[in-house]
Symmetry: C2
Subunit: 247 residues, 2 copies
Amino acid sequence: MVGTLGAGAAIAGISGMPSEAEAKGGPTEKWPWPYVKLDPGKTAEIAYAEWYRVFCGAAVISSVFGQLREKVGEPYRSFPIDGYVFLEGGVAGWGTVCGSNAGANIVSNMIIGPRIAGPDCEHGAIIGSEMLEWYSETPLPVFMPGQPRQATAIIQTISRSPLCHVSVGKWMKASGYALASPERRDRCARVAASVAFKLVQDLNSWKDGTYVRKANWIPGKDVGITAQQNCTECHETKIPTPPMVKK
Amino acid sequence: MVGTLGAGAAIAGISGMPSEAEAKGGPTEKWPWPYVKLDPGKTAEIAYAEWYRVFCGAAVISSVFGQLREKVGEPYRSFPIDGYVFLEGGVAGWGTVCGSNAGANIVSNMIIGPRIAGPDCEHGAIIGSEMLEWYSETPLPVFMPGQPRQATAIIQTISRSPLCHVSVGKWMKASGYALASPERRDRCARVAASVAFKLVQDLNSWKDGTYVRKANWIPGKDVGITAQQNCTECHETKIPTPPMVKK
């Protein structure tokens, strides 16, 4: 199937067709999962509140799957939402991918499916990848909760990166607040809410059949290595040229 | 419960107690999940083969959960393993956390549970965090499959980072092989297998009650920000001092 090699494969840019594309088949490995449209604002409020219970990654997952447990039932009831607390701080505090981004990718890929399940499932990875790009380019947080836990103004910063360390670090530098401060915690709760808001907007468009891909970062193809878009931030002027396949 | 604030909270180093620690309670949110000890070598061989079907993150998950589907049944049968293909290339090709590391963290945290579920569950995040440290410090890949798909020697490199971009980039630089080359693909399949091998060793020790934590990186406490350990690699000599909480 040519379609299977389409946008999903292109977005990863690193892998050809799987050699054995047959699903091994647990009961939840049939895609797409049933989805009913959700309210982005309500979802964001849930993510904000859930951040204070399960932190960024699990809060984004809970904000969507929690509602779908009520409205749909399975397979959302059997998804172990709270197990994803470890996404906090960019995976157990290591500052890698922001947990909100990881949570959003889990949601979009679980609902729509992985690219190996066929061309109908490619939007799962695409919506996830687009989230990383939007997160990197947007002054965050954009969502203001109805009843914020911190009255202090929370300034917005642009991370230019999907990584927790870079995103939180730039915000801490601009705001002067420490990692352990209530203001930093509330900033991250609002970032999770902002991500949940956009995620549901995109899922609703996908459900309506009107989803249009806005982001276009295909690193394997574009730069010959899995990568973010902010090369000079670490490499400065000395960006290495990756080895390329011999023609 | 003081225990809930122990090692798990410390490892994240960024968050206090959740405000509502009560589980909301899907059927799979009871921890630990039933675990029977697995053979590390056999698990690594499965991960190596599965890489060519579902790529790094899902391969690590499949290597463990696939066996537990057979030996235990639920909740492993209902876990959507193939949905995690998107972890490839460090989340949809963006080069963030290596999918093998993400997959290992999902496995250890789903089996043992999240720290908010109580002190008995803290080893989930600790085994996951230790994987990031081991991965960063070990010349990889260490696992040699019985029937390698590439006869070429696969050199080992030390990433000093849990990120896909850094790990793959250093290997590509040292080996001269491109991202799209069969050699690079086989290297990553062997890395996934290496991670699966160590993961099962640690899970078996945990099951036996003999697991001893070997890694000790608590970035929020150690450096005041979520972070890896290779500060100078991006910051060179200009490592910023994060704002600290006022006493």
